[in-house]
Amino acid sequence: MSDATNDSTVGAPARADDPQAQKRADQNVSKSGQMLAADGTPLKRSLARALRRQKLRALMLIAPLLIFVLLTFIAPIADMLFRSVENEIVPETLPRTVELLGSWDHESDEAPGGEVFEAFYYDMALAAQLKNHTRLGTRLNYETTGISSLFRQSGRDIEDIGDVYLDQFEDLNEAWEEPATWIALMGDPDWRAGYTEWFDDGQEGAPPGFRPSEAAEEMLPRTTAVYQNFATFTAGARRDSLAEDEPWPVAYTALYQDLMATPAAADAFDGDTAALLREAAGALSDFETVDFRSYFIDEIDEDWGDPNVWATIQTFSGPVTSGYFLNAVDMRQTADGAAMQPEDQQIYGLLFKRTLFMSLTIMGCCILLAYPVAYLLANLPMRTANLLMILVLLPFWTSLLVRTSAWKVMLQQQGVINDVLVWLGLIGDGSRLVMINNQFGTIVAMTHILLPFMILPMYSVMSTIPPSYVRAAKSLGATNWTAFWRVYFPQSVPGIGAGSILVFILAIGYYITPEIVGGTTGTFISNRIAYHISSSLNWGLAAALGTILLAVVLILYWAYDKIVGIDNVKLGG
């Protein structure tokens, strides 16, 4: 912002030896002694305005980049990280069940009672219509094996319960088959008028949103809730409409239960609807009924009687969960709190440690190899240095996959290096070296791939170190080694720092090279993250692993700043 004050036309201090300037300056002081700008406004305000304008202009200049970074970088990452705790799907899909299940004791050896099953029936029947139940099954299957198929199976069978009631209502009176009966029964009169008008006018645009009548809400609460869901669903679907489809079977179950609870419900209605309801209420005692609990356990799947399944739903019933983070550190969330995973399923701790260890090794190898190269580049005559620089950059421009595959050809047991060694007679044909598909292969290939990221910052720092310092040291009697170690090396440390940070951070998140040459012992945590993103679809766990990795990098960066100091990092000049 220093430019702002220089550029502004105000506030240049008057010099005493310049009479004209002194005169101008006098004019710039108001009667109250305040400094004024040329246009008469107080200098302070004028200066502030100029500065603000400068800032605004600067902000507008970077605005496109800022918005770009926010939208394409920060927002998606924040969104992804949030997935590591997000668990909305359970309370959203099973709202009634989750509420009732809170008071169930998971240590009892029995599945919850009939109430919970009734709530679960409604949740599940609605979810099955909206096709949400299988997604929930997949989510809970991450925690307890077998839930996925349990939910899929139950989604198929659950309509049967509603069909029992549906058939009986329709046998009683055919009017129950008519969508219009339901519109008349459930809808608010004003809404009905609006809906009929919309329907008759060729159904242009969206239909008016469904509104239940007061009578329905009061007398038939369950049915109203189900019908409301049905109305929302049909409004969203493309070819369906309330006037053309009879409601889902679960609506008939709800109607049966409502009428059982309030036999006099018909009194709140009038006309045909009241007659229909009265007729139905009179016939209810002869209806065949379904006991939800026994139907689920005996007819749909005996696993519904397994308290473990219910304990899983109970444990993961909140809108946020720490389960993914626990999984990411080889633990798991159980009904009794966090517990370690069984030993034969622990893998992430090992992978995190391995990723850190190998990244550090790769960084070390890069420093060792890059330092002499950068030194040569910085100290050779320009022509030779340029040629060398091209050799450094050439592999940098070659496709990553090509370079990785080339290492495969070089290092494999039937590969170039082994062939040469066998030909020279250094090793026998039967004892070829194993150099790929393990840690060694990964370290070699990644060191090669990341080397330019170390050489370039080192080179740009070294090329600014004046050769006269070393000459001066030598002329004062230092040996070659002392001159290098005491004079040259300390000046090149910022380059090493910059290169190390670059290489380490790139290495820790590397994915493709370890995947190809890593075998079983040379893979990184990123390979597991990729697996959970694209194969197992456990995005929550992938996000948790990613968050931990990000945190580790930030902590290391902070530690580096404390120990070495981030001011000591130079990318050039």
Binding site: T138, T145, G146, I147, A180, A184, F199, Q414, T520, L537
Partner: protein, 370 residues
């Protein structure tokens, strides 16, 4: 009920109106497939013929099938589905259907009947493993071995257990870096009868037993994650026996003359086919349905087998399978469904793996990393 009569009358009108709208078709499609020889067979067998008949239509390919489920899920979350038809394996189709990302279809309604009038759903039969899935081909994951290994002293592998027999068949193996199929093969060679494999694999002991069997070859195995790797490893002589897709083996053996031979024993059938992403706009959906009707009829599926050794998913296509388009060899003997090849074979148990995948995979990866 006044309203009901009015409504009924208008319903008829709406349905009639819908019929007119169905003619409205998009003039471009984005198809998603696997790339390579397989996608080429699709192009030759039915995409090019379709484009010839509909010159105003253009097709864009996206070779994203390996990550189709993840990408489609991301597209659905962003509410921007750019794909029109996606080629996936049966297991992925099931997951897409489970997640509500693929559209459920009525097979008899949208697909052509067989020439003899058999309904599509009967013609495809068991291949329809999910309501969203429109099968195209049956392939298998099976094994092949090098024919020039001196240490074997002329012995040739005849059954799957050659994989575990390091005495008779020394040398490196190459297997897929995931539990599916490997666990089954391990149990099979550990003496578990065919029918009981999944029952055994459900228990902790069964899983440990399978891993213990794999332990015997663990340090002599190169684990692949893409099928091309396994072919390369075998072709370079890095491994002497290993698994991959039968179509890949066919092209290595028949088209590239590699010294490899098939080991069909205990091949695992899998099915590949189309799914339509859920929530396509009408015009794009109409175009896709029009294309699908053509691309999955009996003759088109039989044509596909001219270019790749995968069995057509329709029973009525099998008799029409002829010779390879360029090499002129009979394709039938190279099909996984050929009776001689399928004497001992099994179909992947998709539902079972959908339940146990997460658990067993964690175990398998942890076992690998040790």
């Amino acid at each position: 009920m006044n309203i009901s009569k009015t409504l009924l009358a208008t319903t008829v009108l709406t349905v009639a109106g819908g019929g007119v709208a169905a003619q409205d078709m998009a003039d471009s499609m984005t198809l998603v497939s696997w790339g390579g020889a397989y996608q080429n067979s699709q192009v030759k067998a039915y995409v090019e013929p379709y484009l010839e008949a509909n010159s105003d239509v253009s097709v864009t390919w996206d070779e994203s099938s390996p990550e189709a489920v993840a990408k489609l899920r991301a597209m659905a979350e962003a509410n921007n589905i750019t794909w029109d038809l996606v080629d996936v394996t049966a297991a992925d189709a099931m997951r897409l259907c489970d997640e509500g990302l693929a559209m459920e279809v009525d097979h008899d309604d949208i697909l052509a009947a067989a020439p003899d009038g058999t309904e599509a759903s009967d013609d495809f039969g068991d291949m329809i493993v999910s309501d969203c899935f429109i099968p195209q081909i049956a392939y298998s994951i099976t094994n092949a071995y090098r024919t020039d290994v001196e240490e074997w002293n002329g012995a040739t592998p005849t059954d799957i257990c050659a994989l575990f027999d390091t005495e008779t068949f020394p040398g490196q193996r190459t297997l897929e870096r995931r539990p599916i199929n490997n666990m089954e093969w391990a149990l099979m060679c550990d003496g578990v009868p065919f029918e009981e494999i999944y029952e055994v694999l459900e228990t902790e002991e069964g899983q440990d037993r399978a891993l213990a069997k794999l332990d015997t070859i663990k340090d002599q195995t190169i684990w692949w994650s893409s099928a091309a790797e396994s072919i390369q490893t075998l072709a370079d002589g890095e491994a002497v026996i290993g698994s991959s897709y039968n179509g890949r083996f066919f092209s290595a053996i028949a088209e590239q003359d590699q010294p490899l031979a098939m080991l069909w024993d205990a091949q695992v059938y899998d099915i590949d086919g189309w799914v339509i992403p859920a929530g396509l706009p009408d015009d794009r959906l109409n175009r896709v349905l029009d294309f699908l009707y053509f691309a999955t009829d009996t003759q088109r599926l039989a044509d596909q087998a001219k270019y790749i050794s995968y069995g057509p998913a329709r029973q009525s296509s099998a008799p029409l399978v002829s010779t390879h388009a360029e090499l002129g060899i009979e394709m039938a003997p190279h099909m996984p469904t050929n009776p001689e090849n399928s004497q001992n074979s099994f179909v992947q148990n998709y539902e079972w793996w959908a339940d146990y995948r997460d658990d067993i995979d964690a175990k398998f990866q942890s076992w690998l990393a040790q």
